[in-house]
Symmetry: C2
Subunit: 310 residues, 2 copies
């Protein structure tokens, strides 16, 4: 009985919503129909290691990964910056980074250390974790993310969008999110925010201005998925993709010596995890699914252009 | 005629020198005879990549590499710092670093950027090169090398000695060398200086105090040696080793994906170069040569202890 009622609501509700809001959907702004299924396949963490860069470049060049973002404070940023300069059409944003969550490979601020002490541990790296005792000064976070954008510019890189490593700057309160938004507006860069987060973090919605882009949905695999269910998880997510714009947040790398060493303290987002993501998202199965489900891959550059046309 | 005269001088000179200076040689201070052949086999650049760390640790644990030094500003310093803490008897110094000579993998200062602007390029990394137009402020160099030592301490690492990446701080004039010496004295750490450099850089000799250690000789392979002559070069160097203390400065790494990518812009000190060093210095041929030539491997910890006993 409940099921039938729910079904009836689903069948009637959308029409009512459409009736209320005449504003074009993000899909429509992009020139697609309201019910088109549009997907950004987005690789995170470029610059962290060579293995991440090499696998992510391979993913981008396969045509099956449509976008990615780069960590400016990381040691291999110069390698991916060089790629970005040589491939100006590649859809590469900045993965704003204020944590250094690994144990054997670490990084610190781009800004002058003395100006961002609240972000740093005793050795001068970004904190491994943020806890209840960590008091991040939003002004220092702003200085640091501006320094990351400025270093990218100094190296000839012009990012297409901004997002946040480990979602730290989005999930840690209104003040930090507004810092990112303020900086993003200054640089005329879109920020990856999705409607899926609004229930848990209402300030994300209330802080946005009407010109900010809001991605309809996001999908990312979680540690609860066992390794042998990887393809099944993604296949289900693709088969049940909803109309509108969805971003798949994925993490590509090769499971080699470097990546294994860099992530050896835990399996989550480790070398084997990233190799599984690489294998699925550069494979024939994924390519066939996109075709079967009539899913179009899009980029952040397209989203930004659509938002500007408004 | 000239040859005979030279030979006569060589035959008579040493006795005269010995007669003049009754001071014990470095070998004698270490408890060996004046004609003992003592060798430090020293691996440079630890911390630069995982491949350097892994190969250097293997070298140290083979017993055939007796000492090494670590680059604090580099991304993989935390990995080698962790090893140093877990292996307090390993002979690990700091390879003071003020340049970032690679293209795709780069690093910057440990000190606050604003305090060391003369060391940095426009993107905030250490300079790739020092040219005639580079004006390094010695006070800033001092701040930076103190910051490197302090970060090591903050991470629980207590280095056995100091040396200089690319010899920059030793070969770039009296002022910078005296900065290193001053800091080394403050921390009671020996500095790698060899008599072999005194002709080209007389300030090295004149700046030293009588308690500073001076290694008698150093050997390092140069780009002029072709790859297939690697073992021959080292074999000759070992067979012609002179009495006293010699340091072989070597560079170990595995020739893998990471190291190949990190050094791909040139072959010198590249991945294959470092693999050749690894192969020679962990091989049976080197072990046999040490035995045949009655060469004793020593460490910087022993040198420091001998100097303090004086």
């Amino acid at each position: 009985m409940k099921f039938i009622l729910l079904f009836a609501m689903l069948a009637t509700f959308p029409a009512a919503v459409v009736g209320q809001s005449a504003a074009p959907s993000l899909a429509e702004k992009l020139g697609y129909s309201r019910d088109a299924k549009l997907l950004i396949v987005h690789a995170d963490d470029l610059g962290m290691t060579h293995a991440v860069n090499a696998a992510s470049i391979k993913g981008l060049e396969s045509g099956l990964v449509s976008s990615a973002s780069m960590m400016v404070p990381c040691p291999w940023f110069p390698e991916i910056a060089d790629y970005a300069k040589a491939h100006p059409n590649a859809d590469l944003g900045l993965h704003l980074t204020v944590t250094s969550e690994r144990v054997y490979l670490r990084w610190g601020p781009v800004a002058s250390k003395e100006k961002v002490p609240s972000l740093l541990d005793a050795a001068g790296y970004f904190f491994h974790d943020w806890t209840a005792e960590t008091h991040i000064n939003p002004r220092e976070a702003e200085l640091e993310i501006r320094a990351q954008i400025e270093r990218a510019h100094a190296m000839g890189v012009h990012p297409t969008h901004l997002d946040s490593h480990q979602y730290r700057l989005f999930a840690s309160g209104k003040e930090l999110f507004e810092v990112v938004l303020h900086v993003a507006h200054d640089y005329h860069l879109p920020v990856f925010v999705t409607r899926d987060w609004f229930v848990e973090h209402p300030y994300l919605e209330s802080s946005l201005s009407r010109n900010d882009i809001v991605v309809d949905h996001t999908v990312t695999i979680e540690p609860s998925v066992p390794a042998n269910k990887w393809a099944e998880f993604y296949t289900n997510a693709i088969r049940s993709l909803r109309p509108g714009v969805t971003e798949f947040v994925i993490h590509l790398a090769y499971d080699d010596e470097e990546m294994g060493a860099a992530t050896r303290e835990r399996d989550t987002w480790g070398a084997a995890w990233r190799q599984r993501d690489f294998d699925f998202f550069t494979g024939a199965e994924f390519r066939n699914l996109l075709q079967q489900e009539n899913i179009k891959l899009i980029t952040w550059r397209e989203l930004a252009r659509a938002a500007k046309q408004e």
